[in-house]
Symmetry: C2
Subunit: 536 residues, 2 copies
């Protein structure tokens, strides 16, 4: 071994990312929509300068290195200031998801040991709902209309009175941010992101085959900043000098489309349900918005139906699917058409684009079948995905969930995948949502996608129900489109185009809506409670 | 401080880059041109598999972790195999520049302690020229036509007989590669690249605002693989899954244009002189080559005249200028038009594109004027550029050249720059080439560029000559275009459009050609020897 002679002690620090935005792209616009619908404007430089004052004020309040600073905020400029200030002062920004249940929020705030929380006035009721569960030393309120509640501090007063703090660079392995997994089973578990992981993630997220971001881009993260670092959109923008458009709490299609058009956004990102609504609005009024600047819609969080890809293609807009988890910072894969498919049929191209794609650089993947052996990359075998890489969690806060990590240092994602020979992932299911019937696996996701391709079906969720003979059998929960009808027999015939007869659901349940989790996914636990009773 | 809980011990290792190419893009083409002009084809996967055998063979020869393996090779598939094999086995690839003088090569091989060298048969005379200066344990010859010289080993025999080596991941701060600066003064100094530095460099080089490389790209590095990691083209291609086209020793315009067209290259890179010749060929036969796939020509190594930018624009091809040094791995800045200039005039846009651009992410810049103070970023003040970042050298091999590093850990580049308010660099001169006249600085580069914009001037170099009264005065060495004439008075009038009267050269020397260094730059030391005699 011979030692390299590079500046290898130069720490990979978010402080450098923040300073870069302040120095090299201070005039880059940060646009934000307030809860009343009005639009405000600031700049990266102003946010970075205010972040120094904010950090000075937090230091005055006793916040020091390693302390957790909670946030209950939308995608808004103040949240950006906290993204800048908290890691740069050596503290840990802990973004709380206001859509979680009160008891979960209380548990999370206590588990993270949040010393202070910054809350938007519109979210004060959420804070009140769990405040008894954990004693916060300070509550800082971002106000526009509300009066300052007793015992709370005013965000703007703190910023204007704060002495600008000189940043010091934290060791790269120290914690910068924290986010809890919104697990559908068990208590949420905390992921502690290091500076090193988030800097590397920001570089990887900006790559052409990932989100593809440069200084010419303007990013609109629909994905909330309380949800896994807003998929890296925020720090990536600061790193490369892109602009940011923050939509606040108004995530309906018209408000989003107005912002996308007015601010000439080039890249946006969110879960499929958001884009389904946007597509419906575009289809209804095709000429209303000038989206000529918009190059990419990044979609993640759950599988993207091909109909969504084709729908946006009709409007000249490209959806790119990505995959990741709270534990992977989150970007772990993205789906870009490989050059070999340039001459392929539309069907082949859509089929490929519906995948979750190839792992990001420095991320390694493998998957294990039911027998515990690694599956071949033949796009046939199904296995639970395991990942490894510099922005993947090595453990949870307080050592919880140790069974999610292998002895040789890989994270077990709980996602069941097929992998093609080129290393491109196709998520078949969450491990716990698979239907394990007669020793074979049936992918609930595949079945849902085919059901949703039926003209009468608006939404479909497939769950496993216990079965004495087959161990489990699939059950389909279906929401029909308004004014359309379809019976179980017809849907079974439709499914038979993609599934073997023995795989078809024995039961169909028709409902008005499918319950959703705090992050917008189908809440299968609730469906199982409602329907998963073994047939007598 | 709170510890992050990510996989922060996951080493940033070139081994992961090589394994990624082997696993995720094994079928990606590697095309190479042989010295006889014929074109061969292999794949990333084959090169990676052969690299394991090559490493096994090198291990058998006694090469272990930290040992230096020298190369005297062109841009050819075997060089790629060594780029893959040597760092992945924990050894250090030391690329020698065959254009250097024999005594320099001998000094370098000894200084690096090369234990073995791999040499192309066409470069055996170069090896012979310095072999007496340093005892090599083994000489391995890449053969096509030549017979195997006595006492040498055959590359292909080693690869086919080698036992594939299982890679082990080296600590990220260990040395992976080595390259010597071809300093125009003093002995060359060795730069030892760590795995960490080169992995981070590969990520940064692939970014949209740098070289902008994804799996859909095919890269043709004209810049030699013996020259600062081929500007990152090789490892970047492996990291993101791009294809590679290696032009061998035939770097004339027609051979390059044939490869660019036939292989549908998307990105290429080289020094300005290469592109000047290519432009002349394109201008001569505009319809001959289909370059519709070609998106970018990266240019670095010396300043790019605006005429070159405009010349390629005429053919629908975009030149992007980048800046770096052996000590910066090399990519430290690249010039992309900022969105503010989208509506600017052609002149403003060309003027901006002639800059060296903004620092890459994680690279910091500053510059010091003659008084030792940091200069403002006003695009007026000139100062010597200092850089800092994770892929910048912290020292040279054996501690030489310590005066090139500041006490607070920055590298002094020796380049004199102006910096604009957006952080974009403009190289005005090498520090030692500046003309320091009457307490003011005159940029030799600015003066050369203006001279070369004169229709009668083919090439121009400006040097400082000692002057009793003014300390130094500029002297212009000019090569006229064939069939054109221009006298000192005319050229002075032309220069007066951009320079103050007191800055104009007192002397013009007209020559047939300007001597060049081994890397194709004007050899100003030779010019100073020829002309820099104070006027009596």
């Amino acid at each position: 071994m011979r030692e390299g002679l590079m500046m290898d002690d130069h720490q990979l620090s978010l402080t450098a990312v923040v300073e870069r935005a302040e120095t090299l792209s201070p005039d880059r616009a940060v646009v934000f929509r307030r809860p009343d619908g009005s639009v405000g404007r600031t700049t990266m430089g102003d946010c970075a300068r205010r972040a120094r004052r904010l950090a000075g004020a937090l230091r005055e309040l006793g916040i020091g290195p390693g302390d957790a600073v909670g946030t209950l905020l939308w995608n808004q400029a103040e949240h950006l200031e906290l993204y800048f200030a908290v890691p740069s002062m050596g503290a840990v920004i802990h973004t709380l998801n206001p859509r979680l249940a009160a008891d979960e929020l209380g548990y999370i705030a206590a588990d993270a040991e949040d010393r202070v929380i910054v809350v938007d006035e519109t979210l004060l009721p959420v804070l009140d709902s769990f405040r008894s569960a954990h004693e916060l030393e300070h509550v800082i309120v971002v106000r526009r209309e509300a009066s300052l509640p007793d015992g709370c501090l005013d965000y703007e007063q703190l910023v204007s009175a704060g002495e600008p703090l000189a940043w010091s660079v934290a060791p790269e392995r120290s914690a910068a941010a924290m986010c809890y997994t919104s697990g559908t089973t068990g208590r949420p578990k905390g992921v502690l992101y290091s500076h090193r992981a988030l800097v590397l993630h920001s570089l990887a997220a900006a790559l052409p085959d990932a989100i593809d971001v440069g200084a010419r881009d303007t990013l609109l993260p629909v994905v909330p900043m309380f949800h896994v670092n807003a998929w890296g959109m925020v720090y990536t923008a600061a790193l490369v000098g892109a602009g940011l458009v923050l939509p606040g709490p108004l995530l309906d299609a018209v408000n989003l489309l107005d912002l996308l058009a007015d601010e000439r956004v080039t890249v946006t990102a969110g879960v499929p349900t958001v884009w389904m609504a946007v597509l419906a609005a575009l289809d209804a009024e095709p000429g209303r918005w000038d989206l000529s600047a918009l190059e990419r819609l990044m979609v993640g969080g759950s599988a993207v139906p091909e109909s969504l890809l084709a729908g946006f293609d009709r409007h000249g807009l490209t959806i790119v699917q990505a995959w990741g988890m709270t534990e992977t910072s989150p970007l772990a894969s993205a789906c870009r058409l490989p050059p070999e498919l340039d001459g392929a049929t539309d069907a082949e191209r859509y089929s490929y684009r519906a995948r979750q794609g190839r792992p990001a650089p420095l991320i390694e993947i493998r998957a294990r079948g039911e027998d515990g052996e690694l599956i071949p990359w033949d796009d046939e075998a199904m296995g639970e995905l395991e990942v490894r890489g510099p922005w993947v969690a090595r453990s949870y806060h307080r050592g919880r969930g140790a069974d999610r990590f292998t002895d040789d240092g890989w994270f077990k994602t709980g996602d069941v995948v097929r992998i093609d020979p080129g290393g491109s992932l196709r998520i078949c299911d969450r491990s716990k949502d698979l239907v394990k019937s007669g020793g074979e696996w049936i992918s609930s996701v595949d079945m849902e996608n085919l059901l949703m391709a039926h003209e009468a079906v608006a939404e479909a969720a497939v769950i496993a129900v216990p079965d004495d003979r087959w161990s489990e059998r699939p059950l389909a929960v279906v929401v029909l489109r308004e004014g359309r009808t379809a019976g179980a027999d017809q849907l079974c015939e439709h499914l038979a185009t993609g599934f073997a007869r023995w795989q078809l659901p024995d039961r169909f349940e028709f409902v008005d809506q499918i319950p959703r989790t705090a992050t917008g996914k189908f809440k299968k636990t609730a469906l199982r409670e409602m329907f998963a009773v073994a047939r007598s």
